[in-house]
Symmetry: C2
């Protein structure tokens, strides 16, 4: 018997950062940024995440537009239509988002205590 069985419900949520009421960072953006960090290229990242190059490009372009500092820096030319680098500010955003997400999920787990009965 797992003590988790006492909890018939589990809370979860997807975190997003908004800037002036526009979606700035969510799971899609974070997943793409982390892939660009690995691949150094929008084309390769789009392929690895099975999204179109246009869609990936649009997401990163919007991020840069909404951001007070550049999040990714695109380098023109070369193979794959030029590389793409995540800025130090972009790294900070990824780390901040992930830390906030962990804190939120901890909060939700701690606040499930009153579900500790089948019918709460």
């Amino acid at each position: 018997m797992n003590s988790m069985n006492h909890y018939p419900f589990k809370m979860d949520a997807d975190l997003s950062f908004y800037r002036e009421d526009e979606l700035f960072l969510g799971n899609t953006q974070i997943r793409l940024l982390k892939q660009v960090l690995k691949d150094g290229s929008i084309l390769a990242s789009a392929k690895n995440l099975k999204m179109s190059y246009q869609h990936a490009w649009h997401i990163l372009d919007k991020l840069n537009q909404l951001s007070p500092l550049p999040v990714v820096i695109r380098q023109k030319g070369g193979r794959d239509g030029g590389g793409c680098v995540v800025s130090n500010y972009g790294l900070k955003l990824i780390r901040t988002f992930e830390a906030k997400e962990i804190a939120m999920k901890e909060f939700l787990a701690n606040n499930s205590a009153d579900f500790d009965s089948c019918f709460f």
Copy 2:
């Protein structure tokens, strides 16, 4: 100058309740339950929320299947193919969800403090 302008980012999230790793309650379910509470009919609620009757019926059926107690009680026959009543347990679910959502949003607002600079 609004002091909110100091916060370039705002965190938000959509809460969901899961039961045995299946989505149980989210915004869609809560919106529909609250409409049924008002209308007393799946057909009227589906119309008011501009969703198909089939979709609304499916959402409520799934809710009842996953729940340890009935969430809605469908009454056969009569106008509109029979009425639909939200059970006391359903009311408790709505209130619990909304209270948890408020607590989560407060937590997120309180944890935006370190965004209190343009570049945090």
